[in-house]
């Protein structure tokens, strides 16, 4: 039984192919303006990776901001449900999931059966999500991938009070003019996101174990900021999938559940 989970996110479209519970492959492409085409491309890449024909796929479940555009999917689920299913498979002991993607930050509280008990999503503001880090990387003229490592070299906590990306950018520019080291500014950016996500997590209620997923979880500087802010150790998935693939993995598992009778 082969199923596919697709997570059509604001920045990347991720695909997981699952056969009898085992991950066969994953694939990721940039989400373009034509969302269905992005999904098609990601699915075709994944199928090509493992030499499977499309008609061998029994069920496709889509999730993510653009899920409704994937008209070839059999079903859709929200990122909340997909995350819950995916993380429960990787870390059954997790009761709180923090998902920081490109566009949104989410906190999900689970019960012992992996059922969603409560959740929070950041309101209309990008300052608690990955897009914020990208905007700041541009302002600082630093590669996004180097942000994590650089922030760990910071020697001083610099407060950053702005509540939105637009104002934060001007605050970063002011810090640059004050000759603040880039490492400290980058840490301030990570701390600012962590502050916002932590506030949301406290509103939803934090229960151990706590997992961090989403593309921003690959940023070791942000993980450090979150750990300090939250006061909990964070489980970051590595195997069988990396953090940004958890929702697609969850969607593929839900597709499998569906075929197994729900």
């Amino acid at each position: 039984m082969t199923t596919i989970g697709i997570d059509l996110g604001a920045k990347n479209t991720k695909v997981v192919i699952l056969r009898d519970g085992e991950i066969l492959t994953t694939a990721s492409v940039l989400s373009g303006f034509d969302q269905k085409a992005s999904a098609d491309e990601a699915v075709n890449n994944a199928l090509r990776n493992v030499g499977i024909a499309r008609d061998e796929i029994k069920y496709i479940t889509a999730t993510g901001a653009g899920m409704d555009a994937i008209t070839f999917a059999n079903d859709t689920v929200t990122e909340i449900s997909a995350n819950a299913r995916g993380i429960t498979a990787v870390f059954p002991s997790v009761r709180t999931v923090i998902d920081v993607g490109a566009e949104e930050g989410r906190v999900i509280r689970l019960n012992e059966n992996g059922k969603v008990v409560d959740f929070g999503i950041n309101e209309k503001c990008a300052a608690g999500a990955g897009a914020f880090t990208e905007a700041m990387a541009r302002a600082l003229e630093v590669d996004l991938e180097k942000m994590g490592e650089m922030s760990l070299k910071s020697t001083k906590a610099v407060p950053m009070n702005a509540q939105c990306t637009i104002f934060a950018e001007s605050e970063v520019v002011s810090l640059i003019h004050q000759k603040t080291p880039k490492e400290d500014i980058i840490r301030a950016v990570h701390d600012a996101i962590a502050d916002r996500i932590t506030s949301m997590a406290r509103r939803v209620g934090i229960e151990k174990e706590v997992a961090l997923v989403g593309g921003v979880a690959n940023n070791i500087g942000f993980v450090d900021s979150m750990t300090r802010n939250l006061g909990y150790d964070l489980l970051v998935p590595k195997d069988p999938v990396v953090p940004e693939f958890i929702p697609a993995y969850g969607a593929a598992l839900l597709a499998q559940d569906e075929l197994n009778g729900g």
């Binding site: 929200t78 969603v116 409560d118 959740f119 999503i121 309101e123 209309k124």
Partner: protein
Amino acid sequence: MSTTKYPSERLKSWGKAKTLRENYYRDFAEAHDKGGIRWAGGAWSFDAIPAGLGEDVWCLTGEPYGATVAFNKELALECQEAIETKGFARDLCSYMRNYWGSIILNKYAWPQYSEEFPKPDFMWQDHICCSHAKWYQVASDLEGGIPTFSIDVSVGPYEELTESRLNYIVGQMHDGIKWLEKTTSRDYNDELLIKAVQNEFRTCHYWAAICELNKTIPAPLDEKSMYALYVLGTLRKSSQWTADYYEKELYPEIKDRVKRGIAAVENEQCRIMTDTQPPWAFLKVFRYLEKYGCVSIGSLYTFSLIGLWEDKEDGTWGPRSIPEIEITNRDEALRALAEWNLSKPEWQHFYHPKLKSEMMIRIAREWKLDGVLLHFNRGCEGLSLGIAENRLAIQKAGFPVMPFEGNMGDEREFDLTRTMARIDAFMESLGMKKLVD
């Protein structure tokens, strides 16, 4: 695939409600043409008292007017920009800003009755939330100075009501009548006051009785429809037309729907309530919920902004009984009116969020709810005060809660797409699937 579980049909008395509402705004606009008096004040003001000035006295209540403006996105934005330009902050009550904007622009939300904002002859208000009395003080200034009277009703929760607290309000009411006579140069008619008080008893009782019928599965009414019905009580609760409509038309019709098993949402499989005023420009949220077979049976807000409630002998929450008293004079009428209004559930939580949580949990249990949607309404500090505490209490009582941020009257603070995405996640967490696309 048909998802219909229950029969459904349109409300027969819907058209009448619409006509009554239109007549209300027309009558206010045309009051002077008929030689009558216009007054403005809040939906919670003691409107039975100015009724004693004569039968040619018409009012404009500010909150429903602010909501009417909000429903018209273009006009709302115009009003908000006008008042911001005048120097007023964006985080003030959004109904109030819409109302003030209307004055500054001199535009009435019902241009078919008057292009210009009809200037009231006096303001008659009470003061329960932080914005109420200030609203009309500023409105008076913006209109160039209009006589204004406000009654302070902040005497504490009803369960702690004492004779001296009641006297404090009744005393202000007596002063108010003298002020009305002086301001309008009219003699006051106590018979009209007594009649208005009795009408108000009926309005508040029957609206609650209508809401109580929503305990039935399937619910005969959905909250989106209730908004168009409860509003009559907020326009003029002491009028004969409101009381008669609720008692003689709407209540019998809803009772009949219950008897025949008529549902508001024909695929009802999930029941929720909301809280506070909705984002008026985005009532489509309720239609979106229906895709999941989800009906909002109402809220503490829709039930008791006007409806009055009490504990029944069987332990349930039901409509407060109409007082079986004979009112023979002005003082008795004012005393009964004050005591009646002080029991209003929506006034209680200005004193402590615990009081609101208790009532909300009671609704969640008695109306057999699956979950609760809380509008963290940035447009109304009064009704949103303590809502985060309400959320925790409701969750503790075992009901899933989905908060969403927005603003009842300022669409700039509401994100429809994300709210619907949030609803998707909440419905999934309740185990619901979309029944229709």
